[in-house]
Each structure stands twice: as structure tokens, then as C-alpha cells.
Amino acid sequence: MSETASTTHGVLAGAQHEHPPYQRHHFSSVAQQFDASNFAMWLFLLTEIMFFGGLFTSYLIMRNWYYPAFVAGSHQLSIFLGTTMTAVLIISSFTMAMAVWCAETGRKRDLILSLSLTLLLGVVFLCLKGFEWHGEWVEYHVPGLRFSVENFVNPASDPQVFKEYHDKPLATDMAENVGQYFFLYFVMTGMHALHMIIGVSVLTFMILRARAGDYTSGHVTFVENFGLYWHFVDIVWIFLFPLLYLISRHS
């Protein structure tokens, strides 16, 4: 190795080299900086996996215990809405990926467009989510705050769902357990929505910076990392969708 040869002088005392403005003082090269923050982002996503891991564990246990309740709860969700939300989110992941590409290839206008589309889709998703939550509130499906077992002990009281699935009535004790389903539903979608809200806020900020040309002059780290975050949030939904919406839709 050339180590011994170069021991006499330190590699790289920062000042001797030209630095792009976005390179921070303690890194010796842009590549190192990119690597470091990209890796950090991945590690952060690991923590996110584990964060949702606790919820998935709880979900699986409760679902196995109270399967009929989970079926009845799931039937209350609109499959149309759920599918639409999934599609919206997947498309937004695509536009985000395109944004990364635009940044990498220095297309400023397209970058702003992609980011804006992503933002728009994110907001649409949140609106749909809010709409769905509102529905649950109206129907007394919010455990702890506004909850009634009426729809489950007496499925016919909810003609729309009943017409479609002909659910059998649940015994009251099982119907109470639909509360567990909706508790998990709200916590899981709530945590997901919280991530979306954070994502949407960062997107807004990014669009402003992109207009100033920040990402199209070689410094793509931030866009790339945010992309990772956005895709991760998408993946969480990819799992939430079948787990919450698609329980025993036949019948």
C-alpha cells in the first residue's frame, strides 16, 4: 500500500482543495459526504421499521385472537377508498423517484414539477385519509371516544355494508373487540399519516429550495435521502392496506 509512503504528510488538509459550497468542513470529499448521509438515512429507516414493528406485532396477535371482530371492522372500510389511496401513494412514489432522477441529471424545471406532483399526491392521500376518518367518527367507530357496537351486533343497522357482505351478527363480547381493531387502525394509520404530514412539509420546503436551484448543481443528497423516506412511508402503506382493508372480503 502507499500508506507508508504518504505518512510524511497528512492526506488532505482541507484548505488546499477546491470545495463545492455544500461540502461541509469535516468531510474530505463530496463522495464521503454523500455516502455518510445516505447511510445515515438508511439507518434512520431501520429505526422506523422497528417503530412500526411494535405495531405490527400487536396487530398480528389481536387479529389472531379476534378474527371475527377484525373481519367485521375491516368490512367497515371502503375498499374503493383504500385502493385509491394505495394507487395515489404508489404514483407519488414514482413521481418522487422521477424527482431524484431530475436532480441527478440536472433538470431544474422537471424537478420542480415532479416534486410538486409528489406534494399534490401526498396531500390528496391525506385528504382521503381525513375523509375516511371522518366517516368512522360519524359511524361511531372511534374506540374510547365515540364508539358503539351497534353495527356489529346488528349488521343490518349498516345497510350499505350489510348489502355487500351479509355479515353475521357478532355476540356483544366479540363486538366489543372490534374496538381493538379500530384502535389499531387509528394508531397505525395515524402514525402513517404523521409520517406523511412530515413528508409533505419537507416537500414544500424542498420545492422552494429547488426553485433556487439548490439541487440541480450536483448536490442531490437531500433529494435522494428524502426520496428514501418517502418510499419507506409508501412501503408501510403497502402493508397496511392488505392488513387493514383486505381481511376476508369474500363471504
Binding site: S6, L46, F56, T57, I90, S93, W101, E224, H231, I238
Partner: protein
């Protein structure tokens, strides 16, 4: 090259691999198709396999997003290892916890 740092293990290309929009578009289409499939399948009575199929499709979708949208296919061993270890510990949490519940003499299983 005096700038070549002798940092040992991680090799990083000077440039990030740029994935072409065509790939992205293809992945998008596949993802949407899978979404439709999973919804359709959920209307067919497969018994316990409904859940299995739904999760399998979700896993495939996840893989696609991770590999292509998140560029894992083109990234270093280190990053790949990071992802795998995260998923591994995630499954440890789930499987060891569920193993306790399943093996109880009389729980609620």
C-alpha cells in the same frame, strides 16, 4: 492518485448510479398491477391463504420499491446489509413474540 483514500472496505463509485425513468415507469406499472391483483384476490375465498397471498404480494411490492425506487439494487454491500439486518431484527421481534403466544398451553389461540 494521492487523493485515493486507503479507506479499506467500502468502495463507493464517484457517481451514484442513475436509474433511468423507463425502469421507474415499469416498476410503477407493475406495482399498480399488483395492487389490483391483491384487491381482486381478496374477493376469492382461499381460506387462510387469503392472508398469505395478500402478504406475499405486499412483500413483492416492497421488494420492488426497495430495489428500484430506493436503489438498493445498485448500492453498496454495506447498505444492503443494513437493510437485511433491519428486516431480520423486525422478524425477530414478531416471530419470537408470536412464538410465545402460539406455544401457550391455553392462550387465546
Amino acid at each position: 492518485m494521492e487523493l485515493q483514500s486507503p479507506r479499506s472496505d467500502e468502495t463507493h463509485g464517484e457517481h451514484i448510479h442513475v436509474v433511468s425513468p423507463k425502469v421507474y415507469l415499469a416498476i410503477l406499472v407493475i406495482l399498480l398491477i399488483f395492487t389490483a391483483t391483491t384487491v381482486a384476490v381478496s374477493y376469492v375465498d382461499l381460506g387462510v391463504f387469503n392472508a398469505v397471498v395478500a402478504l406475499a404480494i405486499a412483500c413483492i411490492k416492497m421488494m420492488l420499491v426497495v430495489l428500484f425506487f430506493m436503489h438498493i439494487k445498485y448500492s453498496t454491500k454495506l447498505t444492503k446489509l443494513t437493510v437485511v439486518s433491519g428486516v431480520f431484527i423486525f422478524f425477530t421481534l414478531i416471530s419470537l413474540t408470536l412464538a410465545d403466544y402460539i406455544s401457550r398451553a391455553w392462550g387465546r389461540w
